[in-house]
């Protein structure tokens, strides 16, 4: 997808610059594609093939059959390679260290005038604001309707006026009404409750579409209350450009270079049923009670692009999990300096983490496990040696099979905070049971001597290289698979 041809605004780091940077990895299907399951089905199909291009739909076909004039971009972050490169990290395996370092060096945002904010090029207020003009996807067969999946909700603490931002799913129920689901213990829900306790509606702005640096910076794990704009600046390497929202002024700033902003109010103590909705677990999340947003205003670029995350697919798991890797790295490094890399694999959703350690000292893998067990989303953490490729599930399984005695190497901790969306949770439980597994080999006990464990079997590098030269010339089409 080409960057915007407009000359009204300076070229900024935004969704368009990323699409231009990765133009050769953008797949643009010919003809219309249905927003009701059709686009998401393409993601499922590509994922089954192990391919993760960005998908740009120029002709999204709406539920009623009309073609939207607003293009859809999805699968933006389904590839670890692309997502790491978006942050200037050449090797995705090094992402955790880079993320931890950059979010630890925050940069204050820059406030720009409305005339300099592309996202306010079009302003639709009151009855002119219509959510149905957006090509919102209905992703899953059991979803009850169309959901915004890449809406970043910004609220603020009425006491300190410090803002908070988090991705929240939004079920579009009417032209100016949607329910949205801040997790009950989230910072956004704390802000909502504070307004409600005063008997006031909670102001909220949902912004959609930006460069992955900004999307991932606003997922930084912070204390409360603490704004995410500085962390986003840290990832950008420059101040994030913000503009006062139309409805709330400088009480709620929104990214000036976003694609779309939806501004509204969550009326005090009004709840609606929301869901079931296809969640990151790969299951349908149950119907919940959720706040409602009464839309006051929609602002957007004149040629806005609608960004969608494939919920429960690599598109959403990859960036979330990579951000988790950065957060977990920052938690472990102070207690286990031999930590080298971290992988939160898509196969484990958000529940598993693999820790790769370089010659850890005695007790260090368990120190690392104890630190990571405190991370709310994780259920199982595996400490592994440097010879294990933690980005290959089969190698992790091999280490578990050959380097673990369960009664000695498993640390089980009950009663910890966790995700209540876990289908494996016991009935009525509000906390989860977690395990840390030390799958490292024992360290050498004699200076200069090998570890007291058998060496790996295999062939020499020279023999392997010769074999690869021969195999590379073969057509293996039709040969038996395992």
């Amino acid at each position: 997808m080409a960057p915007a041809g407009r000359l009204d605004f300076p070229i900024m780091t935004d969704l368009r610059t990323f699409l231009a940077e990765e133009a050769r990895h953008v797949w643009r299907p010919d003809g219309p594609v249905d927003v009701v399951q059709g686009i998401t089905a393409l993601q499922y199909g590509l994922e089954a093939r192990g391919r993760h291009p960005v998908i740009a739909i120029d002709q999204p076909r709406l539920a009623g059959g009309a073609i939207s004039d607003m293009p859809v971009v999805t699968n933006l972050t389904a590839s670890r390679d692309l997502t790491a490169r978006a942050l200037g990290v050449a090797d995705h395996r090094d992402f955790a260290q880079a993320y931890a370092a950059r979010t630890a060096t925050p940069i204050d945002p820059e406030i720009v005038a409305r005339a300099e904010a592309p996202v306010q090029e079009v302003v639709q207020e009151g009855k002119d604001a219509d959510l149905f003009t957006l090509p919102v996807l209905t992703q899953h067969v059991l979803d009850p309707g169309p959901y915004l999946t890449a809406a970043h909700a910004t609220t603020y603490d009425p006491g300190t006026c410090i803002d908070n931002t988090a991705i929240q799913r939004c079920w579009v129920k009417g032209s100016r009404e949607m329910s949205y689901f801040p997790y009950p213990v989230s910072h956004n829900m704390r802000n909502v409750r504070k307004f409600w306790e005063r008997g006031e509606a909670c102001p909220v702005a949902f912004w959609i579409g930006h460069h992955p640096k900004v999307l991932m910076g606003t997922q930084a794990k912070l204390s409360y209350p603490e704004s995410h704009w500085q962390a986003a600046g840290g990832l950008l390497g420059e101040p994030l450009r913000l503009v006062p929202s139309v409805t709330f002024g400088d009480k709620i700033m929104v990214p000036a270079d976003a694609e779309i902003v939806i501004e509204g109010w969550a009326p005090a103590n009004e709840w609606r049923a929301d869901g079931p909705f296809g969640e990151y677990t790969g299951y349908m999340g149950a119907q919940v009670a959720a706040p409602v947003c009464e839309v006051a205003c929609i602002t957007r670029r004149g040629d806005a692009i609608y960004h969608d995350y494939g919920s429960g697919l690599a598109d959403m798991l990859v960036p979330d999990n990579m951000v988790m890797e950065g957060k977990i790295f920052a938690m472990i490094k102070p207690v286990a300096p031999s930590i080298r890399r971290i992988h939160v694999p898509v196969s484990g959703r958000r529940f598993h983490a693999y820790l790769q350690m370089d010659a850890p000292g005695i007790g260090e893998p368990r120190d690392a496990l104890m630190a990571a067990l405190a991370y709310r989303r994780l259920k199982a953490i595996f400490a592994l040696d440097g010879d294990i490729d933690i980005f290959d599930d089969s190698q992790v399984m091999w280490a578990l099979a050959t380097r673990v005695q369960w009664s000695r190497d498993a640390i089980i901790a009950d009663g910890l905070s966790g995700s209540l969306m876990d289908p494996g949770l016991p009935r009525g439980a509000r906390t989860v049971s977690k395990v840390g597994i030390d799958a490292t080999l024992p360290p050498s006990e004699v200076a200069g001597a090998p570890q007291p464990a058998p060496p790996r079997s295999g062939v020499s590098p020279e023999a392997r290289a010769a074999a690869e030269r021969l195999l590379s010339r073969l057509d293996v089409t039709g040969w038996p698979e395992m």
Binding site: L142, A273, Q287, A289, P426, R427
Partner: protein, 65 residues
């Protein structure tokens, strides 16, 4: 409306599910809801198939975990 409450505790080592189900009063489609949503009572449930909205007490059936 008939409500069936499943046992609240599981014997050690025995797996029992954690999901509560509601049958729509209009089309009888089963959909799953959180216990919190059922406990509130005042929030209408929303059938994801026929979009009927109804109070928990009006559900055709409830199986509560």
């Amino acid at each position: 409306m008939s409500e069936r409450r499943l046992p609240s505790h599981s014997p050690p080592g025995e797996k029992r599910g954690n999901t509560s189900w509601v049958a729509c009063r209009a089309c009888e489609t089963w959909f799953h809801v959180t216990s919190d949503l059922l406990d509130r009572g005042e929030v209408s449930l929303h059938c994801p198939k026929c979009h009927d909205e109804f109070a928990p007490a009006e559900a055709a059936k409830i199986v509560r975990a």
